[in-house]
């Protein structure tokens, strides 16, 4: 069908009637629902039975014929993945967390039928003297501002009409009908939006370069090959609001003169792929993709290409090669993608999150966008917060928020009273930022200054129990494994650096280890072909800078201060031992001996350092040294 602005508005009004309880100014005369139950349907919550919870609730509603009063919506991510599966009951945005499937019966009976929230199942931090805070008012959400995730948690990502109800495809209409391609690019440039995939390149400049590049056939690519350890920002956007990316790609197509786009997404994201496919189908059905969109001359098709999980395929030239069906290895630049990209044609590649910002900027104007964030890094950034942090999940914060705010306030601090050690940003290309830099504002340039980088948004928190050398070893293991093997420094150098790090963690380090690491780091940085190799040594360099004493303890004293590196750690029982014998019974190799009610002893020769005794001791009499 062909779409017009009137039809778009019609769909919007009609759908809004049914969305009377969801996140928009409501009070609609025909408000049909008394309750709206939002259940997060993203990978993380689905892995803890969100689907079964939704199914059970639908059964109960069906049984009692309450379908006219209660709506159940599967939505995108709310952010606090740690609390999943998450169920939010509107009105009130009452926040139920860590639910079991049978809990939903109680919520149904007591809250939805009886009007009384189930206090025991409500997220503790949202309980106040006066009642229950809305999910969006809990401390976790306080410093957050959602642009890329603006519709996540509010709409059903599988229903294009709900996206339209929330203002979706209006930006596309505005671009196609009211603006010239140049004007669109001007707005994007003016907004100062920088690439959210890691590089931080000005999006507007990239769009302009591709527009200016001569050629009849051009391509738009969305890079959804998210691969950093601990990162799931792009997956979440695609699962929670796929249309925001589709709409943005069509806008980009109009701006640079392309009628074909590709989303390159990893096959390990089956839910994202499924929702994206569904969304593309719906957009085509409504005429929001395809021929003559909004009755204009502009046509745009979108296809999905699945990546097979190689990390290097996030690099633009490798990604392009992979779409073309070739081995996904990077090539030397120039030529740049803007001149010769996919199949040798001018190609504009942006990351998922970058695209997700576009409709917002077009609808609200560059000024509104620039008001958020810092001067050189306007807007927000989505981070996947994980590691040794209380609130594991997805956060979207204005640029300029400090690391401390993220760790201590949004993240809720380090669990179990442990001390903060470092925050790792930028994935394997980034670095570890120590406590002395916790007040660094999060923006592209400041993170680079302290030896890390923005990257795509992975943020892993480490506490005193993490060993800096072991962390460096982990990232180098990842990079050596993911190196494509094309260029000498990365292929050979990362392997050698990994070998040295393994030697250090296993007690074979010597005085040459650090100088050798530093030399190899410099070579891979200067001589590698692509950014993967050029930044491969960053985890080593950044940990060496902040935690050199830990490296030296491993090398000189053959000691792992954090007690992580097994070869360098021994377990001992102190005289706090009460002789309960629990450790001896737990020990899988029976290397703990001792009489009942007397001090036990670990045979360190036999010990396999599994740490079971350490965990089980009721009086914490066992120490690692």
């Amino acid at each position: 069908m062909s779409m017009t602005f009137e039809k778009l508005k019609e769909i919007r009004e009609e759908t809004l009637q049914h969305m009377n309880l969801r996140g928009l100014p409501t009070d609609r005369p025909n408000a049909p629902y008394r309750w709206s139950v939002a259940i997060c349907m993203e990978t993380s919550c689905m892995s803890s039975k969100a689907r079964e919870i939704k199914q059970r609730l639908l059964e109960l509603i069906e049984r009692d014929g309450k379908g006219d009063e209660i709506e159940v919506v599967g939505t995108g991510c709310f952010g606090l993945c740690e609390a999943g599966p998450i169920v939010i009951v509107r009105p009130g945005e009452t926040f139920y967390y860590h639910l079991n499937v049978e809990d939903i019966d109680l919520i149904y009976e007591q809250h939805l039928l009886g009007g009384e929230p189930v206090r025991d199942l409500i997220y503790p931090e949202s309980i106040t003297e006066d009642g229950y805070l809305s999910y969006f008012d809990i401390p976790f959400m306080e410093h957050q501002e959602r642009i890329a995730l603006r519709s996540s948690g509010h709409i059903d990502p599988e229903d294009i009409r709900e996206y339209i109800a929330f203002g979706g495809y209006e930006a596309l209409y505005k671009a196609l009908v009211e603006m010239t391609p140049d004007e669109v690019i001007d707005v994007i440039t003016e907004s100062g939006l920088r690439g959210r995939g890691g590089g931080g390149f000005l999006a507007g400049r990239k769009w302009r370069a591709t527009q200016a590049s001569p050629g009849d056939e051009k391509f738009i690519i969305c890079n959804a090959d998210e691969g950093d350890p601990g990162a799931f920002m792009d997956r979440s956007i695609l699962e929670g609001d796929p249309h925001s990316v589709i709409e943005a790609m069509a806008i980009a197509g109009y701006a640079i003169g392309s009628d074909q786009g590709y989303v390159y997404v990893r096959a390990e994201y089956p839910i994202a792929v499924e929702r994206l496919e569904n969304a593309i189908g719906q957009a085509n059905d409504l005429g929001l993709l395809g021929e003559n969109i909004f009755g204009t001359d502009f046509s745009f098709d979108l296809e999905i290409r699945l990546g097979a999980g190689a990390f290097v395929c996030g690099e633009t030239t490798a990604l392009t090669a992979s779409i073309e069906g070739r081995r996904g290895t990077p090539r030397s630049r120039p030529p740049y993608s803007a001149d010769k990209g996919l199949w040798g044609k001018p190609t504009m590649i942006n990351n998922v999150e970058t695209f997700a910002n576009i409709p917002y900027i077009l609808l609200n104007g560059p000024e509104a966008f620039k008001k958020i964030g810092t001067e050189k890094s306007p807007g927000t950034k989505v981070f996947a917060l994980s590691g040794k942090i209380k609130n594991v999940g997805l956060v979207e914060i204005p640029m300029g928020t400090t690391l401390r705010q993220v760790v201590e306030e949004i993240g809720g601090g380090i669990p179990n009273g442990k001390a903060f050690k470092a925050v790792q940003t930028g994935g394997p290309s980034g670095g570890c930022i120590g406590p002395e830099h916790l007040d660094t504002p999060i923006d592209f340039d400041s993170l680079t200054e302290v030896g890390s980088m923005m990257g795509s948004g992975g943020m892993i928190i480490m506490d005193e129990d993490n060993c800096a050398v072991d962390v460096a070893r982990f990232y180098m293991d990842f990079i050596a494994d993911e190196s494509c093997g094309k260029c000498t420094p990365c292929r050979e150098g990362t392997k050698r650096m990994l070998e040295i790090l393994i030697d250090i963690t296993e007690g074979r380090g010597d005085e040459t280890s650090i100088p050798r690491l530093e030399r190899l780091a410099k070579t891979t940085e200067l001589a590698s072909l692509c950014a993967l190799g050029q930044t491969a040594a960053n985890p080593i360099l950044s940990t060496l800078k902040t935690f050199r004493d830990e490296y030296e303890a491993h090398i000189k004293e053959k000691r792992c201060p954090a007690g992580v590196c097994k070869a360098l750690t021994n377990y001992f029982i102190t005289d706090k031992c009460i002789g309960c014998g629990l450790c001896a019974r737990q020990c899988p190799v029976s290397c703990i001996k001792g009489e009942r009610k007397e001090l036990h002893v670990i045979d360190t020769e036999q010990c396999i350092k599994c740490g079971l005794c350490f965990e089980k001791c009721p009086v914490k009499a066992i120490v690692k040294k």
Binding site: A310, R327, T329, R331, S332, P334, A480, D481, E482, S483, C484, G485, K486, C487, T488, P489, R491, E492, G493, T494, K495, R496, E499, R519, L520, K522, T523, L526, A527, S528, L529
Partner: protein, 319 residues
């Protein structure tokens, strides 16, 4: 014409030329293992890094086009140190076999290691192809492969892919475990390899060796060498005759200017100039897959029909 400065020398170059080619045209050699004038630049060995406009970040000379006013330094201490490191990384994964390697004397790795003073060293780290040199694929009567010597420059793959119907070789695996594979990692015999020896002709090290030259134990510096053209077809591919005492062997030279190289041509040249005719082999599809089988020179050079005709004509005329 583009004007630039290389090592203080003002030079001119054509638009679109790489720094490496521009330098070479003026007698300035930049070390490179993966570069081949007949192939697209891979920029994978990273040895040809040069300093451009005084910037810290070096550029590859093979993949960077010249620009007006560019100032290139090819031999700064920094650049030389980085090249030494790269060579060391390659040597750490290369068997110490120069004494008995067929490629000695014309091996580029050997040449640059000598030039940069980089030596083999013992280490406990991994080695892709094992510590000792050994032929890892002896299935072909024409080509010997030694993967322990392969530096993964990719030239064999690129040259094999120049002819669409060949494209036998490709990279397999990734990272440190990357290797060059024939079809689905098969032997040269079992693969669709047509024994044209393009790969052997471009290999910069001893990873791909001409078996027949090897068996004659002739290394290039001890032989009288002469380039001849194959007359089997109009392409006129080039071969080199190596002559030592009474022995004479031939080997294919790098295919250039669109010349394809082929087995028939090779055998044709061999039949013409080799000191002795050694059994030719051809590949046949059998129930057990592709096999090299002995054949006759007449069959190998497809002379049977011609010979039949000549014989019958001659016998008729003598009647």
């Amino acid at each position: 014409m583009i004007k630039l400065t290389i090592n203080g020398q003002k030079v001119t170059a054509e638009e679109g030329m790489s720094i490496l080619d521009a330098a070479l045209a003026h007698g300035i050699e930049i070390p490179a293992l993966c570069h081949d004038p007949d192939l697209k630049p891979e920029s994978s060995c990273r040895l040809c890094l040069v300093e451009v406009d005084g910037r810290r970040w070096p550029r590859v000379a093979c993949g960077t086009p010249v620009r007006d006013g560019m100032v290139v330094e090819t031999e700064t201490p920094e650049i030389r140190a980085t090249r030494r490191e790269i060579l060391q990384l390659l040597l750490d994964n290369h068997p110490n076999d120069c004494l008995t390697c067929q490629k000695a004397g014309e091996c580029l790795l050997q040449k640059y290691a000598y030039e940069y003073g980089v030596t083999f060293r013992t280490h406990d780290g991994a080695r892709r192809g094992g510590e000792r040199a050994r032929f890892t694929d002896t299935s072909s009567p024409y080509i010997l492969r030694d993967e322990s010597k392969c530096i993964l420059c990719g030239k064999c793959i690129s040259t094999c892919a120049v002819l669409n119907e060949r494209s036998v070789l490709s990279f397999a695996g990734r990272g440190f475990e990357t290797k060059v594979a024939a079809d689905r990692d098969e032997t040269l015999e079992a693969s669709t390899c047509v024994s044209c020896s393009r790969c052997v002709a471009v290999c910069p090290v001893g990873a791909l060796i001409d078996r027949r030259v090897r068996e004659k134990k002739i290394r290039p510096w001890e032989a009288d060498r002469q380039t001849i053209q194959c007359k089997a077809c109009e392409y006129g591919c080039e071969y080199e005759v190596l002559e030592k005492g009474d022995e004479r062997v031939i080997r294919p030279l790098a295919p250039s200017e669109g010349r394809p190289l082929c087995l028939k041509g090779r055998l044709y040249v061999e039949a013409e100039v080799s000191s002795d005719l050694r059994t030719p082999f051809k590949k046949e599809e059998t129930e057990k897959g592709r096999k090299f089988v002995r054949t006759t020179w007449i069959e190998a050079l497809e002379l049977d029909r011609i010979l039949d005709r000549i014989t019958s004509t001659e016998s008729e005329s003598t009647k």
